[in-house]
Amino acid sequence: MNKRLNIKFIQSFLKTIKNKPLWLIDNLLLELEISEKELFYILTIVSDIYTTSGETFIDYEINEDKKEINFNLSENVSEFLSINDGELFNIFFLLSTDANLLSLQEENKSIKDFSNILANYFSLESTDYDEPLRLPFNDQLNVIEYIKLGSTNSIFYKIKPITLKTNSDGIILEAFDVDENSIKSFLVERIVNITDDSEYLESSKIKTNTIKVEFDLLDENFLNKLGSRIYECVEGKLYMEFYSYENALDYAIKNLLFLEVAAPSDLLNDINKRKNNLMEML
């Protein structure tokens, strides 16, 4: 099954059928973007649930001649339907920043009203997107020009976007790397261009090796900032592993007030060389 069938999807499914109980099966599959097998998988789950008063949560009837499905929903479904704060917040943020959604509001008054309702509950400021944020990815193939952390060179990736997430580094695009046949994470702010196939060079990718770094810990409070990051700390020394040299370099520079590289010497020399270069320029 391709579709991620989870509680969020079940909520979407219920929202879709609540106001329109009668569907042509093909139309419903299109609307939900699922296969017939997936639809029947969902139906076996939801039709096996009973409310506290003993009635079926959802009942359905299929007319095989007309290829129609008719839902009969318990009153509990209305109470059950909910949109959590995280989802509404994501949508409100994008309604205020995403170029596509800004134009949707101009075209459709009810979407504008929807956005105004949300504005009453979210007190949000954003300085990053004075101009609308453009995330012109589609669910097909995209070629992105990306600058990795710690690097000054662009690399091109042929990707199929999956989802946007956030972590301590910022907004992350999770995407399928077509050439390496694996899922990768890209920091949105480091995607410097979305381009066509002509500029794509598979050879621009360099295989990276993990690197272990020993730091002298300059400020013990820094350990509080490490969160879920894996590390070892012994007698003022901090040991960490990074997925590439560039990643380690980026981390060492960004935390130079708290950490000093002790080993490997290549990394230490690189940072010192950069400091000397800057000193000479001043």
């Binding site: 949109i83 959590n84 704060d85 900032k225």
Partner: protein
């Protein structure tokens, strides 16, 4: 998987519409739990709770010593529940519009902000309740005002005493919402960072490929004064430490054209 989804629906169904339900009622109402030993039920229930939490549905235990309805209720849908109660709003139309907007998005969006923290901030901001949390090892009590997005990070804007401060949400832990409502007023002031009011600015002009600037601009707080066609950028900042990091990262790819306070950078490099 099928049973997990089924149990999740059953759990949400039990606590929907602001119901509070005891642990025993939960065990009795869900067939998968009913025949389990107490220990096995606990384990299974905790796993299901944590799964629901990962989707933003917060099953919370209310333990108010003065209250009658002790037990689990559903948190995490503060805004939707408020909207549902608004008599002027047609909730079916609201849901229909929500589905239209969702369909217009090219991608599925997940967790821009930790949903549990977000939900508590929204509740406290709208009901004007106090928030308490640990921030970088120090306990804070604040009056929340809103959320700010800046340079790829999310901040809580809140009054600590009389001073409006911004707290990086990533560093907030053990967040708790106070009981009392309407404790303060919210401000119309912009959620400024302290550095934005600073007069100790440093002005620098460098030549740097635009792509490198875009990829690394979030390393430091600054104002972009001008970006010329020939990749010349004029920047004003009081975040000297951040500027040093930015320049070290871009080593070999930029040319320094002018700087008005080079000593500030030298001081950091000499440390």
């Amino acid at each position: 998987m099928k049973n997990v989804i089924k149990r999740s629906i059953q759990l949400l169904n039990l606590v929907s519409n602001n119901k509070t339900i005891s642990t025993n009622e939960i065990k009795d109402s869900i067939s998968d739990y009913r025949d389990l030993s107490d220990q096995a039920f606990r384990r299974s229930f905790e796993r299901d709770k944590s799964l629901l939490r990962s989707f933003g549905y917060l099953l919370e235990y209310e333990n108010d010593k003065w209250g009658f309805d002790q037990g689990y209720s559903l948190g995490g849908s503060y805004v939707f529940n408020k909207i549902k109660k608004e008599s002027k709003i047609d909730i079916d139309e609201f849901i229909a519009n929500y589905l239209i907007v969702k369909r217009s998005l090219n991608l599925e969006i997940e967790e821009l902000v930790n949903p549990e923290i977000l939900s508590k901030i929204l509740l406290a901001t709208n009901d004007k309740k106090r928030l308490g949390f640990t921030y970088l090892s120090k306990y804070r009590k604040v009056k929340p005002q809103g959320i700010r997005f800046h340079d790829g990070s999310w901040y809580l804007a809140a009054f600590e005493g009389q001073i409006l401060k911004t707290f990086k949400i990533e560093y907030i832990s053990d967040l708790k919402v106070g009981n009392k409502e309407n404790l303060f007023n919210t401000t119309d002031e912009p959620f400024n960072f302290s550095w934005e009011d600073s007069k100790a600015f440093l002005n620098i002009c460098i030549s740097l490929p635009k792509s490198l600037y875009i990829a690394n601009k979030s390393v430091f707080s600054h104002k972009l004064i001008k970006h010329e066609q020939n990749d010349e950028i004029h920047i004003r900042t009081s975040d000297t430490y951040g500027l040093v990091k930015f320049l070290l990262i871009c080593d070999g790819s930029f040319e320094l054209l002018s700087i008005d306070k080079p000593d500030l950078i030298k001081e950091i490099l000499d440390e």
